[in-house]
């Protein structure tokens, strides 16, 4: 393995890859720092750019973008009290309070240091975990894949937002959209309504760009023209205290390490991703703290815990995607389509068949961690200026990026129409409080689910029992049932607690 890494280092450390990672990281920091623009949206908009360059230039660019975007979101959370991405929502609680107390620089440096450590944990897990897991994954057949995808689909419960029922509905819609196109076994056109453009299925980039790019532009348009405040964010902030903050990091090292472990573990589970881990890490940090009463009032631990966790997810989320071909979240789903566009099919054989490229990617992830720290540190004071870009101009440019990103994949005007339609669908979903993530995840997973089930049936001569007779499949299916039961109990408890709180508020 170390020989592979060393060999990969010689391939990766050339000016193109280093430039790609650096530009990706800086672009990610910028995109993440602007409220409304997220790492997900940035990747959706910019991933088509990578389809036409070498995999060890394009994919490292996206990795840098992902890492930069994840940290960049904490900047606006701390400076203006608006998280750049959903993953940074937990950082806002104490980060913004610290800014109000004149400790914005301390919070930002703490977040950066924690991000570095979290990132390192996730990267180590990826480098050592993915090849080891691939040895097990090679034993997987369609039956095991079917069980694993089913397990991942149940995880959608966790990204369903406030309503599980709406999450299930969104997931069902996603499955139906995934079935448009050609049947994977017999090659039969399905649900194409006679349109030849639909025979290849819906273009995932058009779908993601519409759901995240166009939808966000429409949401932002609601507040356009409301005087100067809507034009740009108020950032009359003096960022002081941007020293290394090493003393504070050492003091809270265990909090950061624990949060990094939480992020790594949650990130490696398919379906959960970066939005859950910061809250879990925040909750654990508060519970373990000697001064829990300071949380929410500007506690340093309240900033470092979620930041370490959400950055640890970045690399760890790539494990199920690379090894099983099952994306853990939307960002890894985009990363997966970028890999496929490069002719690299994620799955158990990816590492053995493309060892040089994959170890090159591992080295890029490592380098992106360093790049994040260097560029995050050097450019910290710029972010305040970025937040002053006029919103109408910015979002008009975003629309132009949506158009080039979508069009360039297949040079198809039809894809532009698909992007526009999904922009409207995404807007309606957000207005009706329906989470978009279940729809997109099920869209990606449904294709693998159907193919593995049908191939499994072909292999077992149409016998469904084969799915329960194989040990790995049986274990995963049992885990799936356990997950569903656990989630049902948690949901029931949450509702019960909510009702108790409602009735006590009413009594008062």
């Amino acid at each position: 393995m170390f020989e592979d890494l060393l060999a990969a280092a010689t391939i990766v450390f050339n000016w193109q890859t280093i430039m790609a990672i650096s530009i990706g990281t800086i672009a990610g920091l910028m995109i993440g720092a602007i409220p409304g623009l997220s790492a997900t949206m940035g990747m959706a908009l910019l991933s088509p750019f990578t389809f036409f360059v070498s995999p060890l230039v394009g994919i490292p660019f996206l990795i840098g973008l992902f890492k930069g975007g994840t940290f960049g979101g904490s900047v606006s959370a701390i400076l203006i009290g608006t998280p750049g991405t959903a993953a940074n929502a937990a950082t806002l609680l104490d980060g913004y309070e610290m800014r109000k107390q004149g400790r914005a620089g301390v919070a930002m440096m703490g977040a950066l240091n924690a991000s570095l450590i979290g990132d390192a944990f996730g990267t180590v897990a990826l480098i050592f975990g993915a090849p080891a897991l691939a040895l097990i994954a090679i034993q997987f057949g369609p039956h095991e894949f079917f069980a694993l995808v089913l397990f991942s689909l149940t995880m959608i419960c966790y990204v369903s937002g406030r309503s599980l029922a709406k999450g299930v509905m969104a997931a069902s819609i996603g499955i139906l959209f995934a079935l448009i196109g050609t049947d994977p076994i017999g090659g039969t056109p399905r649900l194409t309504f006679g349109l030849p453009e639909l025979q290849g299925g819906l273009n995932v980039i058009a779908l993601v760009t519409g759901l995240f790019g166009i939808t966000e532009v429409l949401i932002q348009m609601e507040s356009f023209g409301r005087g100067k405040k809507a034009m740009k964010d108020s950032v009359a902030v003096h960022v002081a205290g941007t020293g290394m903050q090493l003393g504070a990091v050492v003091t809270h090292l265990w909090t950061i390490v624990r949060s990094s472990l939480v992020g790594t573990f949650i990130g490696a589970l398919p379906g959960i991703g970066s939005e859950t881990s910061p809250w879990v890490a925040y909750g654990l940090a508060k519970r373990a703290s000697k001064t829990p009463e300071k949380f929410g009032k500007g506690a340093f631990e309240g900033v470092v815990a979620p930041e370490a966790a959400n950055n640890a997810v970045c690399a760890a989320a790539m494990i199920p995607m690379l090894v099983f071909g099952i994306p853990g979240d939307i960002v890894t789903a985009i990363l997966m389509s970028a890999l496929i566009a490069q002719g690299l099919q994620p799955g158990p054989f990816l590492i053995s068949e493309h060892r040089d490229v994959i170890f090159g990617l591992f080295m890029s992830v490592l380098f992106a961690t360093v790049a994040l720290y260097v560029f995050g540190r050097l450019t910290m004071r710029w972010w305040i200026r970025i937040l002053t870009i006029p919103r109408p101009l910015l979002y008009a440019i975003v629309v132009a990026f949506c158009v080039v990103g979508t069009y360039s994949v297949k040079s198809s005007s039809f894809d532009l129409a698909v992007m526009f339609a999904f922009g409207i669908i995404g807007y309606v979903m957000r207005k009706l409080d329906i989470a978009i993530a279940p729809m997109l995840l099920s869209f990606v997973l449904a294709k693998i689910l159907e193919e593995s089930l049908r191939r499994g049936l072909v292999q077992s001569d149409g016998n469904l029992h084969a799915f329960f007779e194989r040990p790995i499949t049986a274990v995963i299916l049992i885990l799936t049932v356990l997950m569903l039961v656990t989630f049902a109990i948690l949901e029931w408890r949450r509702r019960k607690l909510g009702r108790t709180q409602d009735s006590s508020t009413a009594a008062r």
Binding site: I175, G186, F224, A396, V399, S408, G462
Partner: protein
């Protein structure tokens, strides 16, 4: 700002209507799914004849869709939160409608007139309509973005963008 009571009624109506539409779509697709599949393209003995029919998954997904819509309908009273759709003002919807019209016109212009010209015009008009009126910044930025994207795609990535009647 809407009264909480009327907000809740509107929420019931909106969620109910959505669930009803989704339910009807699910049922319709379930019934019509076999017609929307062109049939086996070819049959490989011992392979496709033991796999499920191509219409099986669309039918299952339609059934799941209809069932989830019923679930949404049944759980409406359990959700006490007010929908963002209800909290959004009519003026905001007008802005979004205008924006949608603008984006649609831009997409048509990109294909018919070409990427560069339509992008410059779109960015300029959208910024002004959005409330930012500093043309000394808007126009150079719009031209730079459009030309830079065109050059990057044409010469850097070797991918053509729509040229249309103009450029």
């Amino acid at each position: 700002m809407l009264h909480q009571g009327s907000g809740r009624v509107l929420k019931w109506i909106l969620e109910g209507a959505l669930a009803a539409i989704v339910f009807a779509t699910g049922v319709l697709l379930f019934l019509k799914a076999p017609d929307l599949v062109r049939g086996w393209a070819f049959t490989i003995p011992g392979t496709t004849d033991v796999a499920l029919e191509p219409a099986f998954f669309p039918r299952m997904a339609s059934l799941l869709l209809a069932a989830s819509a019923l679930l949404v309908m049944a759980t409406i009273p359990l959700r006490s939160d007010i929908l963002p759709a209800v909290e959004t003002s009519a003026v905001a919807y007008v802005r979004v409608g205008t924006g949608l019209g603008g984006i649609m016109a831009y997409l048509i212009a990109v294909v018919t007139l070409g990427f560069v010209v339509s992008t410059v015009v779109f960015i300029s008009i959208a910024s002004v309509v959005g409330g930012y009126r500093n043309l000394l910044i808007i126009v150079p930025v719009a031209i730079s973005v459009a030309v830079a994207l065109r050059l990057i795609f044409r010469f850097g990535l070797h991918v053509g963008l729509p040229e249309g009647l103009l450029l």
